[in-house]
Symmetry: C2
């Protein structure tokens, strides 16, 4: 590693002068500064970023905690975040919580110890206590939540309107003539799974359709989503063979359900219409292609970083941080798993 | 933020004593050390990781440069890397090169300036000059390449035997009776795309089948892979309507090709047998499900981190670093896009 001392020796000047020259101090002549700059470039000198960090109190690094990485929506969010961070010269440390509350807590502590400039987080399904997040806020480290958020935590958030999106999906099933609509919901805790369920329920009631709790099936929506979709579809056929539409919490579960129906000779969309949620890439390539709610992952990642960046700048300037909640638009992508209107 | 000074004031002792106590220096009594530890915990004191970094000359952070994030194989690799890094207390900074050589160079410089303890990289398709990697090696920063590697760069590598895997895939098509086998290859530069092509060619020649260069179609295998698969399939039907098997460089292109064949009434596997490469999750859920080579992404990520960790430890202990090349096993997953043997 080339040091300031090497440059000083090369030029026969003091280390202090070299250091000052590189920081563009006016008490070093422009001639010397130029010489030092050129020599530094020639020797391929790289400033010690730890020392720079100590001086500026900025790490130019943010932390990202995400439930899962191998997931079309979340990997799109990651892409959006690192693309935007790169533009602003920030690096992103990525941690995967595996939907575990305990791990998420540890990762928050680790990032605080690392003195990252800010944190982006989408909560684990397990998380129902938010003291670790409040600790971040109390320490005045900027934090922005996205997708899986906690309403009670006071920080900026980027979300979609899950309830509205679910309402739209269910209303579409009603509009094409479905009379008995089931729902495969996600786990009980995360807000987005609750909101999607409530949107489904509200659409039924607004259209004077009966809400029947036995038509609601739960899935964990983890690694085994595809299998859960198959199992729920199998059970549904046993319980209610007259269901003509299903609104499903996530595409992967919907794809599992379609596989099961296909294997059992139940035709989609002739016998059962299906609407998924998220618009995974594979939704467009399977047969029949899946009607689904498009969830803007890339845009969500970019927006979350932008909000965080603003807060980091505000904090640095000792300005008051004001929290924002950004709600991104979703849209229904109509494909072949539903009948035409 | 709680500082050493706060702890010192709380206890009415000097900052030096607090600092020494936290570092477990023996010239501070165990009683005082215990008191300081407890007070630090009580006040939620967190050591300044920049200062710790300066002292230990370790950042406990590694950099990962990857061509794309939204990609089943690469996101599996990321998962493997961050899982293994977490076990060893390392953080992972992720950068996406977007298959750009220029960006990749900049990212290497950025990581060196950040003084990461080591770098993991899978090369951009564009990269054909390796001076940026040799710079890393000359600076004695440990670096491990995985999947898309450069044979001439002297560092540790984790790969699969692409040539052998492609040979196996092509041999399987021959074994089920295919007489005229096409190949959709990847871009011209990356080693793995070259090796897969060579494996295909060798299998043909070993079985006394003619190698016909007009049966080889190229695709960029980027974001538009699915569309490229469709376009190649369309062209293939025009050029050679008697092809009965295709070995395809990557699953997404294969899925595009199957879609095109399906739309044109060409039956898979009755008319054309297809073998993909990578075993994306979606390969198992489409209809017909795709026969493909399983590429162990998670395992590759774990192994790459393990090699890097070893080198970081060796370097720290001023031991000689010996480079290793690890070749992971692949296997052919037979599904419904090929006839039975």
């Amino acid at each position: 590693m080339v040091t300031l001392k090497n440059i000083a020796e090369e030029l026969g000047i003091s280390i202090t002068t070299v250091s000052k020259a590189l920081k563009e101090y006016p008490d070093v002549s422009e001639k010397t500064r130029k010489l030092v700059r050129e020599t530094a470039a020639l020797l391929n000198y790289q400033p010690n970023s730890f020392a720079v960090n100590l001086r500026t109190k900025e790490s130019k690094t943010i932390g990202l905690i995400i439930p899962v990485v191998v997931h079309h929506f979340f990997s799109s969010v990651i892409k959006g975040i690192i693309a935007q961070a790169e533009k602003k010269g920030y690096l992103v440390i990525i941690l995967q919580s595996n939907e575990s509350y305990e791990l998420e807590q540890k990762q928050i502590d680790l990032l605080l110890r690392k003195r990252v400039d800010g944190i982006l987080i989408s909560l684990a399904n397990e998380t129902s206590d938010f003291s670790h997040l409040n600790k971040v806020i109390n320490q005045q480290t900027p934090i922005v939540m996205f997708d899986k958020i906690a309403k009670v935590v006071k920080c900026s958030k980027v979300i979609i309107d899950d309830r509205k999106a679910a309402y739209t999906a269910t209303q579409y099933l009603i509009d094409i003539g479905c009379k008995k609509i089931a729902h495969f919901r996600g786990p009980l805790l995360p807000q987005n799974s609750i909101d999607r369920f409530l949107g489904y329920k509200k659409a039924l009631l607004d259209n004077d359709l009966e809400f029947d709790v036995s038509l609601v099936y739960t899935c964990e929506c983890g690694d085994a989503s595809f299998e859960e979709g198959k199992a729920n579809a199998k059970q549904l056929l046993k319980d209610h063979d007259d269901v003509d539409g299903i609104f499903i919490n996530t595409d992967l579960v919907a794809i599992g359900a379609m596989k099961e129906f296909n294997d059992r000779g139940v035709k989609v969309p002739e016998d059962i219409n299906i609407v998924g949620f998220s618009n995974w890439f594979m939704a467009s390539v399977i047969s029949p292609s899946l009607t689904t709610i498009n969830q803007p992952g890339l845009e969500m990642g970019k927006k979350a970083f932008k909000l965080l960046f603003k807060e980091i700048k505000s904090r640095k300037a000792n300005k008051l941080i004001t929290h924002k909640q950004v709600v991104l638009d979703t849209d229904l992508v109509v494909r072949d798993s539903t009948k035409n209107k």
